[in-house]
Symmetry: C2
């Protein structure tokens, strides 16, 4: 971020009056440009015992498996975002049941929400961001080929709840990636 | 949003290839500038039976009562955001218990999260964004002077759970404001 999106002026980094953090402030018009975490919303959707997974056709993690999920858009609710992403990525129609996982990802400035959901019918497909979609049994989940840590967390939380016969909200904050 | 924050070029509104929505796209460098909902995070914090409320010293809704809450910052978790906001606005130290309300506010492009929390001690104060803070009994809550619909929802959800002796997550999507 180098230029002011309002007037095109050069941005400086400074702590505005009454604030305690450095922000991008326009040297010309004074506009303060805040940067805030983004919401990624998706679902663990099932048809009978099987779970809907998609194989990614895009980077990052092309070819790896994920739950249907994506960036929440302006003008929608979190449940609408999960429903839309599932339709876009897996061509699947769902009914939302309840929020299942809330995962903060501070090092990527994101918060991931995963809903528990029920497929309305077993029709699934591959949207433009997916190579394929599958309805998979728990014992066949390719754990070593899951795209993101938050997806593994949400899947394991759902499976533990299902095994226990009781569903709740699971919260987690992911640590920074290990440096090698 | 008129200028590209990367190169200072003029922005145009167009649907990028592979997308289905109009976005701000730079006519010069091609950068796509997405706009996404912001997270507002706060808490219903209690000391014994009393609830922590703050009276706003800033617009919007100057002089009205609110739960401590504010925009989540990059680099923190949702629970850290609630803890920080409570310290900043009410000078109060809390221990987070669990997520209590998730409220989508589509017409303002926001998602509000409220945690249930316990004050670590009864010391409270007024941060720069508050005129005063109080620990208030349920029967004294000034319902007609609550700043925001989401705050009323979160307070009522908490009070209903406390009366029932069982706490859960309450989800809601606020309708657009009535036009007069």
């Amino acid at each position: 971020m180098k230029f002011c999106s309002q007037c095109g002026g050069l941005l400086t980094i400074q702590v505005p009056a009454g604030d305690s953090r450095p922000r991008h402030v326009c040297a010309h018009c004074g506009e303060i440009h805040y940067r805030n975490p983004k919401l990624v919303v998706g679902c663990v959707a099932t048809w009978e015992e099987r779970i809907l997974l998609c194989r990614r056709a895009i980077e990052p993690r092309h070819g790896f498996w994920t739950l249907p999920a994506g960036f929440m858009e302006n003008g929608e609710s979190t449940a609408e975002a999960a429903t839309r992403e599932t339709l876009e990525e897996a061509c699947a129609r769902i009914e939302i049941e309840a929020l299942s996982s809330l995962i903060s990802v501070p090092h990527y400035d994101q918060v991931h929400l995963f809903y528990r959901a029920r497929l309305l019918d077993p029709h699934i497909g591959a949207g433009p961001e997916s190579l394929e979609s599958v309805l998979i049994r728990e014992e066949d989940i390719p754990w070593s080929e899951i795209a993101f840590q938050s997806v593994s967390f949400a899947l394991r939380a759902f499976l533990a709840d299902r095994a226990a016969g009781s569903f709740g909200l699971h919260e987690h904050s992911l640590p920074p990636p290990a440096t090698t």
